[in-house]
Subunit: 92 residues, 2 copies
């Protein structure tokens, strides 16, 4: 039965590794968004875009069986990091 636990943990680690690579790619893209915003005088935060992102994530969380409160916390963490990076890009 301990094999059962070890087996589940291998799958969890695989998922986490996939998420790290997706996040690395995500921040490569948001860096480009940050450069575009800076070069075009757009503010780091876009409230309308954020609202749409949260609405989509909530819906997708429900569809997939993920706790939607957790999904929102996750998106908040990501967006806060992006805004921090975009703000620092503009300050340069």
């Amino acid at each position: 039965m301990s094999n059962n636990l070890d087996d589940l943990r291998v799958s969890l680690d695989n998922i986490d590794n996939a998420v790290v690579y997706l996040m690395a790619e995500r921040f490569r893209l948001t860096h480009k968004v940050g450069v575009y915003k800076r070069d075009n005088g757009l503010p780091p935060v876009d409230e309308k875009r954020e609202e749409a992102q949260f609405a989509r994530i909530r819906q997708l969380a429900e569809q997939s069986g993920l706790n939607s409160e957790f999904a929102e916390k996750l998106l908040r963490l990501i967006i806060d990091e992006v805004v921090k990076e975009h703000t620092s890009l503009q300050a340069r």
Copy 2:
């Protein structure tokens, strides 16, 4: 050039959707871990396992170019949610 921003946002949404599905699957697995822990009298928190997870995530973040502080925050958010669920499973 606005197409450029829209185009990046489509990719960001695709990544976020993938992450939601991965997280949904991750919590399906940790539910099984929680049941196993409850049935075998194991505590919700396993500090040694956590340390190994953080060490691995830090290393993978560096490899992939992801900010490792962000990667740690992300893993903390996930583990906190899992511990909350495992604690509530044991309280039933």
